[in-house]
C-alpha cells in the first residue's frame, strides 16, 4: 500500500499540466483499507480534465466509501508524456487520492462513455501491471470491471473485461462488493477467479463475458449462450426506481485545476422518453425519474455553500423538460443571498420559445452564446428521427433568443441519417441562413455556428439495423454544406472527422472478434483516439485487415430483422419488436409522442421491470410542440412502404 508519490513527484516537473495527477480535490477521501474491505479503483480512461467531472464515477465513489465493506479511489489516463516516463521508470498506474498503485486494489473499474477510449482502457490495464486479456489473469490480479453507456455492447471488450455492469450502478456496486468480500474471505490466496466470476454473473445486471460461448455462422453471429446452467441467458440492466433515494453526489469533487464542466452539477432527472431514434442515451435510460424539486433546491443550496462555485448546471438529457423547471431556475438565480450572483446552466436545451424564456432568466449577465440541437435540417428528416421540432418552433426560439440580446447561436446537426437526401443535408445550410436572417433583424453581428457530426447507429436504438454512411459519403455531404455556405455571411461550419466516425461505427456495433483489433491498435501506439492529434485511421484499417475483418460488413451494411445482434443476450428493457416497429415507422416518417404525457407503448423499459415514470407534472411544458403530438403523423402514411423491402436509406455514395 505504499504511496508512489515520491517517485511520481520527481517526474511531474517534466510533464504538461502536472496538476492532473495530484488529486487534492475538496471532497476527496484518503481511505486506508482495513482487512476484509474491498478496495475499488474507479478509472476514467481519458484525461483528468474530462474524467474528473463524470457524475457516474463520483456517485459510485461516494456510495462505495460510505459502505463499511468498501473503499474507493480514482484514477485517470495519464497523458502520453507521463505515460512514457512512467514506463521508463517502472511506475505503474496510480490513484490520485493516495497515489497507491492500481495493482494493489481488489477491483479496477472503468467508466465507459465513449468508444474511442477503448484503447486507453487497454493501456490503463497494462500500465496497472495487469495482463490485458482476462485469460492471463490469476487470483493475484484485481478484477477488471466496466460500467457506463458503452457497456450495452461490451462484446468488443469481452476479451479484456472480467465483468460488465448494465444500467444504474447505485445499487449493484454494493452487491458486487459483497460477492467479492465473500470470495476474499473464503479464499484469501485468491487462487480461483472462476468461482468469483461465476458468482458475479448471477448478480442481476452483471454480465461476465467469459461465462458465455459465442458461435458463428460464417461471418454471422449464430448465438451467445451461457456456458453453465446457473448463468442467465439474458442479462437485464439495473434501474433505480426513484432518484429521490439517491441524492448523490453529496460532496461533489472540487478540483484544484481546470476541468470541463467546472461547476456544481445537480442531476434533475434520469431517463428521457422524447424518443429520438438516434439517441442511445434516451433509449437505454428509460423511464423518466425526476428528482423532487425540494431535493433539487436543497442539493443546489448545500452544494453552492460547500464548493464556492458560482454556477450550477441542472443536468439530465433534456433539462427544460423537468416539471417546474422555470421555478427552480428563478429561485436559484434569485437565491444569490450571500451577495454573490449564481448562474444556472442548462446543458441540452430544448428548441422552443419556452426554453429561451428560461434561458433568459438565467443568462442575465452571460448572454454570450446559446446552443440548440435540431439534429436535422428538414421537418421530414426530423420526423424520421423523431426529433419533433417544427420549423415554427425552431424559428420562434431563435427569434426570441436574438430579440432578447443573444448574438451567437450554436446549432448541432447529424448527417448520414436514414433516408437522408441531399435536400435534407442542404436543409441544414438553409436553416442556418434563416437563423442569421432572423438575427440580423435584431443585431448586425448575429452569427450561427453549425456543427455537423456523422451519424453512428447505436445498439438498443431503432437505428441499430441501419447501415452507416461511408467516409466518402459523409465527406461528400460535408462538402455539399461547405460549398453551399461558402457565401453565407454569419454562418460558420464545423464538422467531425468522418474517419473517426467510421471507427466509432466499427466498435459500437462490433462483436467479440474486434478484441484483437482493439488490442492491435493499442499495441501499435493508438492512444487517446478521440483526440484528433492522436487519431489515425490507418492503424485501425491495418489492424482490421491483419485480422481478416471487413469494415464494410461491420459498419455500412444494413442489418436484417432476423440477424442475431452481438448484444441480443443483453437487455436494456426494450423489446426488440418495439425497436423494429419504431425503425419501420421511422422509414415512413411516422412520429411517436412522448410516453411521459401519453399512454404507454409498452417498449418494455417500465413494464418489464415493474417500475414507472416519476414525473411531477401531468402535462408537457408549455410553449413547445416537441412531444405533444402537434403536427405529426401518428398513423402509417397513405403511401405504404412494404416492410423488409429496401427503402432509400440514404447514402448515394456507396
Amino acid at each position: 500500500m505504499d504511496s508512489l508519490w515520491p517517485h511520481l513527484e520527481k517526474l511531474l516537473p517534466r510533464v504538461q499540466k502536472p496538476a492532473r495527477y495530484i488529486g487534492c480535490e475538496d471532497g476527496a477521501v484518503h481511505p486506508v483499507p482495513e482487512p476484509g474491505q474491498v478496495s475499488w479503483l474507479l478509472v476514467y480512461p481519458d484525461t483528468y480534465e474530462i474524467g474528473l467531472p463524470n457524475q457516474g464515477l463520483q456517485i459510485l465513489y461516494e456510495i462505495l466509501n460510505e459502505n463499511p465493506q468498501a473503499v474507493a479511489e480514482r484514477s485517470y489516463a495519464p497523458w502520453t508524456d507521463l505515460d512514457a516516463l512512467m514506463r521508463s521508470e517502472g511506475i505503474p498506474l496510480f490513484s490520485v487520492d493516495t497515489h497507491r498503485s492500481a495493482g494493489s486494489f481488489d477491483v479496477v473499474a472503468f467508466n465507459l462513455s465513449a468508444e474511442l477510449t477503448y484503447t486507453n482502457l487497454l493501456n490503463c490495464i497494462d500500465l496497472a501491471g495487469i495482463p490485458v486479456r482476462t485469460e492471463h489473469r490469476d487470483g493475484s490480479h484485481p478484477l477488471v470491471l466496466a460500467g457506463g453507456h458503452c457497456t450495452y455492447n461490451p462484446e468488443p471488450l469481452a476479451d479484456f473485461l472480467d465483468a460488465v455492469v448494465l444500467g444504474d450502478g447505485e445499487e449493484v456496486v454494493t452487491e458486487i462488493t459483497a460477492v467479492i468480500a465473500d470470495w476474499r474471505q473464503s479464499d484469501p490466496t485468491g487462487g480461483s477467479r472462476h468461482e468469483v466470476l461465476r458468482a458475479l454473473a448471477k448478480v442481476p445486471g452483471v454480465y461476465v463475458p467469459s461465462m458465455y460461448h459465442v458461435a458463428y455462422d460464417g461471418p454471422h453471429l449464430r448465438s451467445v449462450t451461457p456456458r453453465f446452467a446457473d448463468i442467465p441467458e439474458r442479462v437485464e440492466k439495473r434501474t433505480i426506481a426513484d432518484l429521490a433515494d439517491w441524492p448523490y453526489p453529496r460532496r461533489q469533487l472540487v478540483p484544484v485545476t481546470e476541468v470541463v464542466h467546472d461547476r456544481l452539477n445537480v442531476e434533475v432527472f434520469r431517463g428521457c422518453t422524447r424518443g429520438c431514434r438516434f439517441c442511445q442515451a434516451g433509449m437505454i435510460t428509460r423511464p423518466v425519474r425526476e428528482r423532487p424539486a425540494d431535493q433539487v433546491r436543497q442539493m443546489i443550496a448545500d452544494g453552492l455553500r460547500r464548493t464556492g462555485y458560482d454556477e450550477v448546471a441542472l443536468t439530465s438529457l433534456s433539462s427544460a423538460d423537468y416539471s417546474g423547471i422555470g421555478e427552480v431556475v428563478s429561485d436559484t438565480v434569485r437565491s444569490s443571498s450571500a451577495g454573490r450572483p449564481v448562474s444556472v446552466a442548462l446543458p441540452s436545451l430544448r428548441v422552443d420559445a419556452f426554453t429561451v424564456g428560461v434561458a433568459a432568466e438565467i443568462g442575465r449577465a452571460r448572454r454570450t452564446g446559446l446552443t440548440f440541437a435540431p439534429e436535422a435540417g428538414t421537418w421530414r428528416m426530423r420526423q424520421v428521427i423523431n426529433k419533433l421540432i417544427s420549423d415554427d418552433d425552431l424559428y420562434g426560439a431563435v427569434e426570441s433568443a436574438y430579440s432578447q440580446g443573444w448574438r451567437r447561436m450554436k446549432l448541432y446537426f447529424l448527417t448520414g441519417l436514414p433516408t437522408e437526401t441531399d435536400e435534407d443535408t442542404l436543409g441544414i445550410a438553409e436553416l442556418a441562413r434563416q437563423c442569421v436572417a432572423l438575427g440580423r433583424k435584431h443585431t448586425k453581428s448575429a452569427s450561427v455556428t453549425v456543427s455537423v457530426g456523422g451519424f453512428v447507429p447505436k445498439p438498443f436504438t431503432p437505428f441499430q439495423w441501419f447501415g452507416q454512411n461511408t467516409v466518402a459519403e459523409l465527406s461528400r455531404k460535408i462538402g455539399l454544406l461547405k460549398d453551399d455556405l461558402r457565401r453565407s455571411s454569419g454562418v460558420q461550419l464545423k464538422w467531425h472527422d468522418p474517419k473517426a466516425t467510421l471507427v466509432e461505427g466499427i466498435v459500437s456495433r462490433g462483436d467479440r472478434r474486434l478484441g484483437v483489433v482493439i488490442e492491435d491498435v493499442w499495441r501499435h501506439g493508438g492512444l487517446f483516439q478521440e483526440w484528433s492529434e492522436h487519431f489515425e485511421l490507418g492503424r485501425w484499417m491495418d489492424a482490421m485487415e491483419r485480422h481478416g475483418l471487413s469494415p464494410d460488413w461491420y459498419v455500412h451494411r444494413h442489418r436484417t430483422e432476423d440477424e442475431v445482434l452481438p448484444w441480443d443476450h443483453l437487455s436494456a428493457g426494450l423489446h426488440k419488436d418495439f425497436l423494429w416497429q419504431d425503425w419501420r415507422d421511422s422509414l415512413e416518417s411516422v412520429g411517436l409522442e412522448d410516453c411521459r404525457w401519453t399512454p404507454c407503448y409498452d417498449c418494455g423499459a417500465c413494464t418489464g421491470y415493474g417500475i414507472e415514470h416519476i414525473v411531477a407534472s401531468a402535462v408537457p411544458p408549455a410553449g413547445g410542440s416537441q412531444g405533444t403530438g402537434q403536427g405529426i403523423v401518428t398513423a402509417p402514411s397513405p403511401v405504404a412502404v412494404p416492410a423488409a423491402v429496401p427503402v432509400v436509406l440514404g447514402g448515394s455514395g456507396r
Binding site: P13, V256, E258, A365
Partner: protein
Amino acid sequence: MIRLRFRYTKLGKIRFIGHRDLARVWERALRRSELPVASTEGFSPRPKVHFGLALSTGFESLGEYLDVDLTEDADEASIASGPDLAAQVTPLLPEGMDVQMVQHIDRGQSLQAAVAVCSWRIEVGGVSPTVLADRVGTLMSAEVVEMVRTRKERTTEQDIRPSLQLLEVDGPVERVTWDEGSLLFAELRTAPPGLKVAELLELIAPEAVESRVCRTHQWIEGDGARQEPLSLATHPPYAGMRAS
C-alpha cells in the same frame, strides 16, 4: 476601503498547480469565507484581488502573499482579526495551503513591485555538496557573469552577477529518489537583470536529477533594512513544511 493581506504557504502536492489554478482556488475560498470582497465591474465580475510575485509551478513556498480588497461598505469591526481570520480561511483551502497571517494594510505599492529579494531553499538531487560548493565559489567570486538571454526574438548578453545576493551550500540532503544531494540557500534580487531559480540551477547544477525548490521569504527593502510584507512573530524555520 479595507485591504487585507494574506500570507500563506504552498507546500506538498499542491505546489503543482499553476497561477491560473491558484487564482481560482482563492476565488472559491473567498466566496466560501463570505468576506465582503469587492468585485470588478463588467459582464463577469471577478473578486478584486492582487497576487504577489508569481511562483513557478512545482515550486513550494513558505511565504506567498495575496491582497484582497473589501467592498466600500465593509465594516471593519465585523471582520475577524488576523489569527481568527487565518484560522477561518485555512480550512477552505487545499491541503498544503495554510494561511499563516492576515493583516489590514494601507493601499500602497503593489506587492509585485515592492519585493526586492527572494530567499530560496533548494534541494539539488544528484550533485554532491563538494562539487556544488566548488561551483558556487567560482560563481560568487566572479565579478561579471554573462548570460545569453532571448527576449522578443532578440538575443542579448546580460551580466546577472548583481542579482546574485547570496549562495550557500549547506551540506548533504537525502531523498528516496536520489543517491546524493545538496542543500543550497540562495538570495536572488528581483530587479533587472534578475535571475530565475531555473536559470541558476542550469548554471551550477545542469546534471541534477531533480531539484526541490522552496521560496522561504520575500523581502521588501527600505532605509537600509529589509522586512517581509507580513512578518511572522516567530520564524520556526521550515516547521510549517509538511511531509509530502
